[in-house]
């Protein structure tokens, strides 16, 4: 058995030779299990980017990219083991799963090996904060999304707001960031309600909001399926006419199939494929490679992840992990499929363009793609 392990380790080493002209990216992502819904499409986008770069002769025409893939089965302990194996194999960058738990479990490995690590789609801004110098996020942070939607609401002339959030997860507390930004801009908070994830009945919350006189100009939440549709239906049934603002969690077909109730809902998400945009080009290239359109925005975000690494390697002029980390932390305006990405001045959390989408006639309408104002982005919340 020892021989088998040894042999397969040697095989793995040969499959991914580490040389001066090759950049080896190690992925310890959730290809199976509960997080596969995010990490599998992300990996497709990453591979598309790698194929494009290698077809063009490599990064800067010189450095080819090789992938060393590990499946962590959505398990934190496996992530920590896989990250160590990748570190031992001498990879230059490690890609971690799109959830805080497994990503955090690998912190010890990446910081002691001094290899930069990027989580595929984790959006909690606390991740890079806890993770230290070598931990980066790739997805627009919860606080960034909230800053964008609050600014848009204020500019639209909405003066009063109500938030509905769930303390159950970091993601569902996004409205607390919204509250902070909205108040900073001068808006007034009329109140807030909490729900639990998976709550069946939102009528109590809906009646409370409907009973306000006057009703708030807007209701903001980061609830997602199945909570968001029930909440929205309850609000409208109770007679709440306020503008409803959501987050990228509701960027799914369900939201566009709610009929009249769903109309005019506005939410933030990572990108929108307007004509001639990089995202439209990405979608086309994706369909060509895989035979079908990307199933979610995660694929484009995965493409962006590789573009960020490419940019960092160009600046660093080397595949040395520490140099790549330093270059990555200083990147500005990298062109990705979803827009421009900046790490400079942040704590490892990217500043990305966020797209605001409105549900119009059961389809998506672009409201705007503002670059978030760095001064407005609230500090990550630890609680």
């Amino acid at each position: 058995m020892k021989h088998l392990i040894l042999t397969s380790a040697i095989v793995a080493a040969f499959a991914a030779p580490v040389g001066a002209e090759t950049l080896t990216i190690g992925t310890a992502t959730a290809q199976t299990g509960g997080l596969a819904y995010a990490d599998v499409p992300t990996m497709q986008g990453m591979k598309l980017a790698i194929d494009e770069i290698n077809a063009a002769g490599g990064i800067d025409g010189a450095t080819k990219i090789a992938l060393l893939e590990k499946d962590v089965r959505s398990d934190p302990a496996q992530t920590s083991i896989a990250a160590q194996e990748l570190a031992d194999a001498g990879v230059s960058v490690i890609v971690l799963p799109g959830d805080s738990d497994p990503a955090l479990a690998a912190i010890g490995v990446v910081s002691s090996a001094k290899i930069p690590a990027i989580s595929t789609v984790a959006s909690s801004p606390t991740l890079p904060q806890i993770g230290g110098d070598y931990m980066f996020s790739n997805f627009p942070g919860d606080n960034v999304q909230a800053a964008v939607s609050a600014k848009w609401a204020w500019d639209e002339g909405y003066k009063t707001a109500w938030i509905v959030y769930s303390p159950d997860t970091q993601y569902t507390t996004m409205p607390l960031y919204f509250r902070d930004v909205f108040k900073k801009l001068g808006g007034e908070m009329l109140g807030e309600s909490t729900n639990t994830i998976g709550q069946q009945d939102f009528s109590a919350i809906a009646t409370t909001i409907a009973a306000q006189d006057p009703q708030p100009d807007l209701v903001m939440t980061s609830a997602y399926e199945p909570d968001f549709p029930s909440m929205l239906i309850a609000l409208r049934a109770a007679g709440v006419t306020s503008q409803v603002i959501g987050s990228d969690g509701i960027d799914s077909p369900t939201t566009f199939s709610l009929g009249d109730v769903g109309e005019d809902v506005v939410f933030t998400t990572a990108g929108f494929a307007i004509k001639g945009s990089p995202l439209e080009a990405f979608d086309k290239a994706f369909e060509q490679k895989y035979g079908s359109a990307p199933e979610s925005i995660y694929s484009a975000v995965g493409y962006d992840l590789i573009k960020v690494i490419e940019a960092a390697v160009i600046v660093a002029g080397s595949t040395d992990p520490t140099k790549i980390r330093d270059a990555m932390a200083d990147l500005e305006n990298v062109q990705g499929a979803t827009g421009l990405i900046t790490y400079k001045g942040t704590n490892g959390m990217p500043v990305r363009q966020v797209s605001l989408i409105r549900v119009k006639d059961g389809g998506r309408e672009l409201v705007g793609q503002p670059s978030p104002d760095a001064n407005l982005i609230p500090a990550p919340r630890m609680q």
Binding site: S8, E69, P76, P167
Partner: protein
């Protein structure tokens, strides 16, 4: 008290330490990734053996033990996370808890005690349930604890990551804690409590009849196993540094149970085998699924094979080895069997002093009255024969007298004490022992263990070893002491059952068809033994059998039941002439035909 030979325990302990040390050295030689893999292996093995302490010994599969792992993880982490970080991440924490900052070992010990207390409360309820009802209840436990951890946000951060836990579980720590857990599990298995629980697993009714309080033993093992799970949880928390409630839910439950079932639930050898096999197979598949090249061929990554592999191993194990790869015995029990030559120790006879009497005993099952107003008296040292056609209520009467059934009406007195409504272990403790019509031995325990359990569970276990040996000697089954009871011939099994009852040092012995299935010679030998029990030891005997020759020759007095009623009693001579008895056995002739 430990019930297995010191030689076996030393062999087991030595092997555990040796394997652990070798594993640690090999892993260190391979490098940090293998060290991490082995650390996780040791934590998993600790958890597997923790589940095994309860499920293996009691025979009740538990889906809920990972909940205790979660409680241990959260409890220990709350004590080790730096106070400053707790202030930032858990502002709602009670001040006394927020200020605590312990190192791993004290925090782990406190977490184990806390988890054990929780398990005591939960176990008190679950130990009342049997078989699959208990299994489903443990599933409820897993779901409830998961819900509580998510809901108790001030202390647990809810469903969010609980982070900032010092990463102090290294390979050596994990190995050392795992060795401790394996020792605990191994010693418990052969402690008197563990042996009693295993007897209960083999046959609950028989275990009760020799004085085993099965719920109490289940509770002890439940609490111990919960503490071991807490140890595994604390190690896991301090290995990962960050975790959330979903780490301690169905995924890990499945993986750990797979290890336990594949290896074999009832032994420490099985737990180790299962953990090793599953880990090796997943490690190999995991390396292959990332893609590899054979010569010029490149095999692309295919993920998901590890889970399929585990599934296939379970299927294979279930088809080929239902009791798991290691079976029902520890390796050292196979390699170093207990010496069969035990020096028989003679114990002075106790002798019956008290009259056992049942007054107006009635037992109804729904509308059927199985026993109807029967009074019975057994005088000290007497052999009383109880006969009657099939279905006449003999076994029901015996079950009432031995506490297995509670009489619907009537009273049972022994000396001055009222035994009505006492449980069968209580009755056993009053000096009343029995055998069963369908042999109820603890089939997978050795003959010696069968008898020892009875001795340990009565008279507070006083002189248990000597009593067990005397009983084996009396029934002439000492030569089979090391054999599994289930492997003996029918006649020998009957004798072992009587020896087991005798080891309870009873005043009264109930024998339900002891000669069934024996040939004439065996029956005669048995008759001789029974006569001596009564004559030499002064034990009262209530004998049920269809062999009228046996009954006639042995009994001082005979009672006859028919359709639940006592139709006659008297000396063998009187009974032979009794008209009612003849009618009951042979029919009434022409009168009934009309």
């Amino acid at each position: 008290m430990l019930t297995s030979s010191r030689r076996q325990l030393l062999a087991s302990g030595g092997m555990i330490i040796m394997l652990s040390v070798i594993a640690v050295f090999v892993a260190t030689w391979f490098g940090p990734a293998t060290e991490r893999m082995l650390t996780v292996f040791f934590i998993s093995l600790t958890a597997v053996v923790g589940i095994g302490v309860y499920s293996g010994n009691s025979g009740i599969l538990s889906f809920g033990h990972v909940a205790f792992m979660g409680i241990g993880a959260y409890a220990s982490s709350l004590l080790t996370v730096p106070a400053a970080l707790k202030g930032a991440t858990l502002p709602g924490l009670p001040t006394w808890l927020a200020a605590v900052e312990l190192t791993l070992i004290p925090a782990t010990l406190i977490a184990m005690v806390f988890t054990a207390v929780v398990a005591l409360a939960v176990g008190a309820a679950i130990s009342k349930l049997e078989g699959s009802a208990a299994t489903i209840a443990t599933l409820g436990l897993l779901i409830i604890v998961h819900g509580v951890i998510i809901g108790w946000r001030d202390v647990t951060r809810g469903a969010q990551s609980f982070f900032g836990v010092p990463r102090v579980t290294d390979l050596v720590t994990a190995a050392a804690f795992c060795v401790v857990a394996l020792f605990l599990a191994r010693l418990y298995r052969d402690s008197s409590s563990g042996l009693r629980l295993r007897a209960g697993r083999e046959n609950a009714i028989a275990a009760g009849a020799v004085g085993v309080r099965i719920r109490w033993e289940r509770l002890i093992s439940f609490v111990l196993s919960a503490a071991i799970m807490a140890l595994a949880g604390a190690m896991m928390a301090h290995f990962l540094g960050a975790f959330s409630p979903k780490k301690f839910y169905f995924n890990d439950t499945f993986l750990l149970l797979a290890m336990l079932i594949v290896g074999g639930m009832s032994t420490v050898t099985g737990a180790i085998t299962g953990a090793v096999v599953i880990t090796l197979v997943t490690e190999v598949l995991r390396r292959l699924e990332s893609g590899f090249s054979i010569g010029v061929f490149d095999v692309p990554p295919i993920f998901g094979t590890a889970q399929i592999g585990i599934g296939l191993i379970i299927l294979l194990a279930m088809f080929r080895k239902v009791d798991g790869l290691a079976g029902l015995k520890e390796w050292e029990e196979r390699v170093l069997p207990r010496s069969t030559l035990l020096a028989p120790a003679a114990l002075p006879p106790v002798g019956a002093r008290d009259v056992l009497s049942g007054k107006g005993l009635t037992r109804q099952f729904g509308g059927l009255t199985a026993v109807d107003d029967v009074s019975i008296q057994i005088l000290p040292g007497q052999i009383v024969g109880l006969i009657g056609p099939n279905g006449s209520g003999k076994t029901t009467l015996l079950n009432m007298l031995s506490g297995i059934l509670t009489p619907t009406e009537g009273q049972i007195l022994h000396g001055g004490r009222d035994l009505t409504g006492l449980s069968s272990p209580d009755i056993a403790d009053q000096g009343i022992a029995r055998t069963f019509q369908n042999i109820r031995l603890f089939a997978n325990l050795t003959v010696y263990q069968n008898v020892l359990v009875a001795a340990l569970s009565t008279h507070r276990g006083k002189d248990a070893v000597a009593r067990a040996q005397t009983a084996l000697d009396w029934l002439d089954v000492m030569k089979h002491a090391a054999a599994d009871a289930g492997t003996l011939s029918y006649g020998d099994q009957r004798r072992v059952e009587i020896a087991r009852a005798l080891a309870c040092q009873p005043q009264v012995l109930f024998l339900d068809e002891p000669a069934a299935g024996m040939n004439r010679e065996e029956t005669d030998a048995l008759m001789e033994i029974l006569r001596r029990l009564s004559a030499d030891l002064g034990i009262s005997v209530l004998l049920v059998d269809h062999d009228l020759e046996l009954i006639n020759q042995l009994s001082d007095r005979i009672m006859v039941l028919n359709e639940g009623r006592m139709i006659a009693q008297g000396s063998p001579k009187e009974i032979r002439r009794n008209k009612a008895v003849i009618e009951a056995y042979l029919g009434t002739g022409r009168e009934n035909e009309n």
